[in-house]
Symmetry: C2
Subunit: 637 residues, 2 copies
């Protein structure tokens, strides 16, 4: 990531708003909601009570991770100092033995490591480690890394094959320990990650054994989510129903699933464990072929914040948590690294430009937790569940999503390119430059310019001191038809293998590659097994999924029918929603005699009126006045 500089017209302003607005806004929320004070109270430097939920420490860690990525690309002494100030508070709260979890320290000191199913100690530890590695890489400082290492070593002294068993109710520690291994070279962290993965799926479950050992009714009550019927302890909610290598279906809480699969991919990458890769391949098939929204988002149900069953993809009640989309990006990136297969980059791109990006407003200070694909404009907020709303909110009592957005955006550079011994792979078309060192020491710069995602013309220029032979692999997205490529102005016709075309040659300074990915707006239909999308179509152009929003359309969008085969047009509107390409075309507007105060009446045959529709990218919805929105629109027959 340090070698990539993003200067993309689409992403750079979002990253800059994230830096100037989101990070500041979220820091204020961390202060206001007592999340930082919890560390001071645990350290004894402030009086007061623990505030919030048992996972609140993680929001602070994620903010540090986000701020560190931002710092890496954009030095900022004030932010640097602010981070150090927060790190000092964290360090002061850490116990002598390395333990650190302010909720347990302040409210339930007797529950230390006693309720792995619920209390997220290992989850928070994972976010601490991720923050520490990011902070160390961005600044070279070791202050947070030392805290993380101390906690990780404490964890390692407690859990393991010859020590106690157990694993985290919410996965995260696994992928974090692999990061710590990579950062420190200490292989025991990798082993511990594998251990935590291997703990899942035992019979009886480690969580059930923990539950059986709890003494009081109030302790036992915290396991309620797992209790189904009188004698069934079902831990599929946290992917503990089977050993990880035997899992075939994506189940349970979507974020937990994504973080676990990411951890599995990391361990597989480091250990070449093919049985993990096989399981991940099966799970990826299941989610992408049966349980994923067209936006690349996942997890339809608010009730388990996760998966239900094959082809159950409701639009109005779509949960599609923003964090789950972050998880899809994390997992697919690791699958891409593991396999080099472009279809993982396709899913990454799909989640990134659609489900993920809808999670944050253009202004950078409000966020979706749940992301519906249909909005009736009725206020669907439920008292006490402000995270399910048709309007983005500034913050949430469970605030996982805002800092997840904030850490993903400034780390975007990480996902753009991959390197193999004699090749550079271009995964995403984001205007940027990258410096690499080839096997053998040759240094190459690649400069990518484009007007993506509005336009599919990509220009690449290589720079180097002396000619170098290597392959340039360019990803051809699954949505692209008839891509054209020119090298130094001359048409080339390389084969596309695994979603990438390969240009192998002896490159010289100033050589150019022009890739044309024709972007035509098109209609999609869903597999008829998806009951909620029957008879409906969605619009896609390039990587972007579109939606109809009420503000752009001449009649109630629920009463608009889209023909399956008329001409679609698109043009860029610079003043709309910070500049978007809209898709327009013919539609039919149903006109029915006015409804009085009836609920049902004999059906009236009517002649629809021809109108023109205008669709905007899904990511940009809910940035204007409240109104209806639909990704899937009824097709006229």
């Amino acid at each position: 990531m340090a070698n990539v500089r993003v200067d993309d017209k689409f992403w750079a302003p979002r990253i800059e708003i994230n830096r100037t607005r989101s990070l500041e806004h979220q820091y204020e929320e961390l202060i206001k909601t007592g999340r930082i004070a919890n560390f001071e109270i645990a350290a004894g430097t402030r009086k007061g009570q623990f505030q919030g939920r048992y996972y609140n420490d993680s929001d602070v860690y994620k903010w540090i991770e986000a701020a560190s990525y931002s710092l890496a690309a954009h030095p900022d002494a004030k932010l640097d100092a602010r981070i150090d100030e927060v790190i000092n508070k964290i360090g002061a709260a850490q116990q002598k033995d390395g333990y650190l979890h302010t909720f347990i320290q302040l409210l339930h000191p007797d529950e230390k490591w006693a309720n792995l199913a619920r209390y997220h100690e290992l989850y928070c530890a994972g976010h601490l480690i991720e923050a520490a590695v990011a902070h160390h890489e961005a600044t070279g400082k070791r202050n947070l890394l030392a805290i993380a290492v101390k906690f990780a070593d404490h964890i390692d002294s407690i859990f393991g094959p010859s020590r106690r068993d157990g694993t985290s109710g919410h996965q995260e520690i696994e992928l974090a320990l692999v990061k710590l291994y990579r950062s420190t070279g200490e292989r025991h962290y990798l082993h511990l990650a594998g251990f935590f993965l291997d703990q899942r799926g035992q019979k009886p479950s480690s969580f059930e054994r923990e539950y059986r050992s709890r003494k009081t009714e109030s302790q036992r009550a915290t396991y309620q989510r797992f209790i189904k019927g009188s004698n069934i302890f079902d831990t599929s909610y946290c992917q503990d129903h089977l050993p990880v290598r035997q899992q075939t279906e994506v189940v349970g809480h979507a974020v937990r699933a994504m973080y676990m699969y990411s951890g599995m991919a990391d361990v597989a990458y480091e250990t070449s464990d093919q049985s993990l890769v096989d399981a991940l391949t099966r799970l990826h098939h299941n989610v992408t072929l049966k349980r994923m929204y067209v936006t690349g988002g996942i997890g339809p149900s608010r009730h388990n914040e996760g998966f239900t069953r094959d082809y159950d993809l409701p639009n109005d009640t779509a949960y599609q948590e923003t964090c789950a989309s972050v998880g899809m990006i994390l997992w697919n990136y690791r699958m891409l690294k593991l396999t080099g297969d472009g279809r993982y980059a396709d899913v990454l791109e799909q989640s990134l430009y659609n489900a993920f990006l809808a999670g944050v407003s253009l202004s950078g200070d409000t966020f979706f937790y749940a992301n519906p694909l249909y909005c009736s404009a009725v206020d669907t907020r439920i008292q006490g569940e402000e995270h399910i709303s048709n309007r983005r909110q500034g913050w949430f009592s469970t605030a996982c999503c805002p800092p997840n957005v904030a850490r993903l955006l400034p780390s975007l550079g990480k996902y753009l390119y991959s390197q193999s011994p004699k090749a550079l792979w271009v995964n995403l078309y984001v205007a940027s430059s990258v410096n690499i060192e080839l096997d053998g020491g040759g240094k190459v710069t690649l400069r990518q310019t484009n007007n993506y995602p509005w336009d599919g013309h990509i220009r690449l220029e290589v720079g180097m001191a002396s000619p170098q032979e290597f392959s340039l692999h360019l990803r051809i997205p699954g949505w692209a038809r008839n891509p054209q490529v020119r090298v130094n102005g001359n048409q080339a016709a390389p084969e596309i293998i695994g979603g990438y075309l390969e240009l192998n040659r002896r490159w010289q300074n100033g050589n150019t590659v022009e890739l044309a990915l024709p972007m035509e707006a098109e209609r999609l239909e869903a597999n008829p097994e998806v009951p909620q999308d029957l008879g409906k179509i969605a619009l896609r152009r390039g990587p972007l999924v579109y939606c109809l929003e009420q503000a752009d359309n001449p009649g109630d969008i629920d009463q608009m029918l889209l023909p399956v085969s008329s001409r679609l047009e698109s043009h860029f509107e610079p003043d709309l929603l910070n500049g978007v390409t809209v898709v327009t075309g013919r539609a039919m507007l149903l006109k029915s005699p006015s409804w009085n105060d009836q609920l049902y009446r004999p059906a009236v045959a009517t002649t629809p009126e021809p109108v023109k529709f205008r669709a905007i990218p899904y990511y940009a919805w809910a940035n204007r006045q409240e109104g209806k929105m639909a990704v899937w629109v009824t097709a006229s027959k």
Copy 2:
């Protein structure tokens, strides 16, 4: 009810199966699941532990009520003796002071009247009282009535204006106390019913005060449903958000709402309290105009077993609990009694023939708890939640629905006719005879014959010793257009007022009335505010709502489009589903190129194939092999 004899070709076989099959089957389940043993254990005549849930006593009471209604119409010495045997066990379990609730007696004796929000003591007392009154009326015996009176007097000694406050988390006691008042003439039961209604909607809620007084964390945990956010105690789940006279929207748990409105209507009837009638009228408007399925069922959400918001009526996840449909029948019957307005009879009929009747199989031994309006044929059962299924089940761990069906069917006679001083009102067209005594002592018999609901021709014949002047009011259902009526063969043209036509004359023995309610199959559309029914139509013929079931149709019913204006035909099929009139017509079947293992693809324009559809009454669905079912079908445009 004692004066009505049902001999209807449609209903009598269902009532007979209820008598011969359902009552027997349910008794076996009461035994098997320990529901009767709980009384013996509480009495000390059997060793063992309480089994099941805290409301299990009510299932036994409801079974006795059902069996008593059956006994009233059909003497059966064996059943009579079996009821007495169960009553003896109940009596033995009753405490000296009259208290009776085996869950509390056996498991939580220290929680007596301490957790009104949850433990259903008053709810079970209500069902005991209903059973006792029914048993007394059916048999003349006082054994169960004495138990109920003793418990009611105990309750009356504890709760009341000068005694302690509080009301039941689950309503039922209110309507039961009015029944007990009517049966015994003891007015204090009526006052107590009013007291329990008036307890609702206080600030802070009586349930919140109860919660604040609880000492242990495990006690407090039982109030979780009410806790929304850190400082919000929301009791709308049990209609405790506002004083009953100020309520305007149907909210919360649907069965609780229906039972409460029924109790309010009973109290209003006895006390002429117009403020209660006004509230009920508002609530009725809200439910029928914004929150009711086309089947007359209510309560879309499984999460509160109840209401969500206006126009939210999902089909696939429709909860539409069978007990809530029973509740709609109970409430609408009381509104009809209170106002004489036929629209309440319309809703009663709509719920009875559709949402309610779908709750029980033709064989009488399996039941729906939740009743979807769309079934994708995927097994939607959730482990530990077998009450949400696309197949009827024999029993449920929460078994409220089967005995509610079993008590409604044999009491059908109650709903058919009403009497006012000089008039007889025919509410429902069910072949039957009724004996009434007019003001002044004249005795009249009315004999109703018909082939309803398949045919709208109704024949009525009056019988009497000497001519009598009175009015015969015949309900003209809201769905009927151009009804015709003949008296002794001569066309009459009475006005229709409040949904009834009035024939006032001096009737002579053998006079006949012929009413013709033309029954044409028709298409319905839902208010476009209902997102889930947009672009769809439903079929109705007379009082019956129809559905497409996969077994009757030539292609995937999800791929069938119904024209809005082509001709619909109907004919009776004697061998189908115990004999039903089917509705048939033209449809278009979408043919799309086969789907491989894809989830989304570019939309393909296709030419649909003309086919013929066949629809069956909704109540009869899921009585054959598993397959898709839809009430709302996409309309072709």
